[in-house]
């Protein structure tokens, strides 16, 4: 693959209609605190196309983070397969990188060293990894903050570092675990727009966990709706809103389709909550 200097991700600027992630019959359970078995995921089937932006929405305890960690290769599971571009997941790999809800930055390391962390773990030499880190830092708008430490940055800036770190390893799949859940509403809006702009320009496959219906619709090509106990896919809702969306997010949010899909998702989510009122939960 030929990579140009101007594109820090080195991604190809076209979209192939083929699968990037295939999940077949994925089941995962573990022993809960009360000693009983908890079914985190039951028989999950999911295909994610190359360069698709997939959002995953569901009540807490629906296994969406478990699903993401399984794709990341961070946790084992009992049944089923996960394939990334046809290759079974056996552990963490260079083709995937993750953005964490609590940022997970190294507090002693500078912004530059944090962004270069993944490259360092993969054995990239100092000169190259710092050059790549600097271009990513510029891309997320943090030029001038290279020598700052996470404690000196706001939450929004810290997550920009987290995103830059994830993109620096040039992943084919970006896994995002409620990345904007810990920042304030205004910062969240800005980060959503910037993430859309980055994805529109560089194109990569994104799996994005959220508990916000608005965020799921705004960002996603499709919304995967999960239900809890056991965690499984309840429905996959396509989002036929035009792209690119980053240029006018506000207009998009006023559009009939956006309002309609968000309302539909809320109806479905409310049904799930009704089903799981504490009094009716079977123990």
């Amino acid at each position: 693959m030929v990579r140009t200097q101007t594109d820090p991700l080195g991604s190809d600027d076209y979209r192939k209609e083929r699968l990037m992630i295939e999940i077949r019959g994925l089941s995962k359970s573990f022993v809960g605190q009360d000693g009983g078995r908890v079914e985190a995921l039951r028989d999950v089937d999911l295909d994610v196309g190359e360069n698709e932006f997939l959002t995953v929405l569901g009540p807490s305890g629906c296994g969406k983070t478990t699903l993401l960690k399984a794709i990341a290769g961070l946790i084992p599971w009992q049944d089923g397969d996960i394939l990334i571009d046809g290759t079974p997941v056996r552990g963490p790999g260079a083709d995937r990188s993750m953005v964490f809800q609590n940022f997970a930055l190294l507090p002693w390391a500078t912004v530059l060293d944090n962004v270069a962390f993944g490259l360092r773990m993969r054995g990239v030499g100092r000169a190259e990894r710092e050059e790549r880190a600097r271009s990513l830092i510029a891309m997320v708008g943090l030029s001038g903050f290279e020598t700052k430490r996470p404690g000196e940055l706001s939450g929004g800036m810290q997550q920009r570092v987290g995103i830059a770190r994830a993109l620096a390893v040039r992943p084919r799949v970006l896994l995002m675990d409620e990345p904007f859940g810990a920042v304030d509403e205004q910062t969240r809006r800005l980060l959503q727009e910037e993430l859309l702009a980055i994805w529109e320009e560089h194109r990569l496959t994104v799996v994005f966990i959220t508990h916000s219906m608005e965020e799921a619709v705004l960002l996603g090509d499709r919304v995967v709706l999960m239900s809890a106990r056991p965690g499984r896919i309840a429905e996959i809702v396509p989002v036929p809103l035009q792209r690119p969306r980053s240029s006018d997010v506000s207009a998009l949010e006023r559009s009939g389709k956006y309002v309609e899909i968000t309302a539909y998702l809320w109806d479905r989510l409310r049904d799930m909550h009704e089903e799981h009122r504490p009094a009716t939960v079977a123990r």
Binding site: A72, G73, L74, P92, G93, A94, R96, S97, M98, F100, N102, A104, L106, P107, W108, A109, F117, G118, R120, M121, R122, R149, G151, E152, R165, V169
Partner: protein
Amino acid sequence: MSTLAGQRRARTAHPRRQPSWRRLPAAPLSLAAGAAAWELIGHLAGVSFFPPLSTVLVRLADMAFNGVIFSSLGDSLLNLALGFAISLAAGLLTGVAMGRYRRVEAALGVYVYALLTAPSLVFAPIFFSVLGEGRGSIIAVVVMYAMFVIIINTASAIQSVPAHLVEMARSYGASERQVLLRVMLPAATPMIMAGVRLGIGRAVTGMINGEMFIAVVGLGRIVTEAGGRFDSASVLAVLLVIIAVALGGVALVQIVDRRITRWIPKTSRGDR
């Protein structure tokens, strides 16, 4: 560990307006008050076991000029340095292994806690018979005093490294070695250093006890001999030197600590 946490806790902020005596530096003031009390009680009591501070200082000056202190001090500092270096190396290795691997902790934990609380001098006769009355026995006593607190702090520090940092590193393909060196050790450093600071204080105690009870050398020898002559002024003069050595050691550890934990935000460091 609560005492360790306490040492790191920020001092409470001074209120905006306060009486003028509160603005005087606390440490020099407290030292001056202590010295005055010692001098006064020494004169009032008039017993030979508790001479006033001035008598002790004059004796200290004598001992410094005739060279007794410095030749002994060199001996003692060598014992201290070697013993502490061994405690540090073995303590960090064992502590990291115990903190990282549950099986190692299960296997060694009981010994470490037993030896932490056991009076270390009990082992002096064993060292004496195995290592003889030379430097080796004293160093062994220093290690018995200093190592276990370093092990226990290091193990706790490694165990309290946030799990999400380790998970992050693994997601970027970090090997076990990289997780340890690039994530766990740096994250654990502040708490490890708290243990090292406790360790240096205990090492000084071990050095003196070793010198007094096993091999009669160094500062310990002066204490033993002066004690035999009921020469309290000399005993207390050497005690001042020992305290200075201990404080010097702690200051040294703190300088290193400050250099390698500069990343901790000022608001959460308090005493720095």
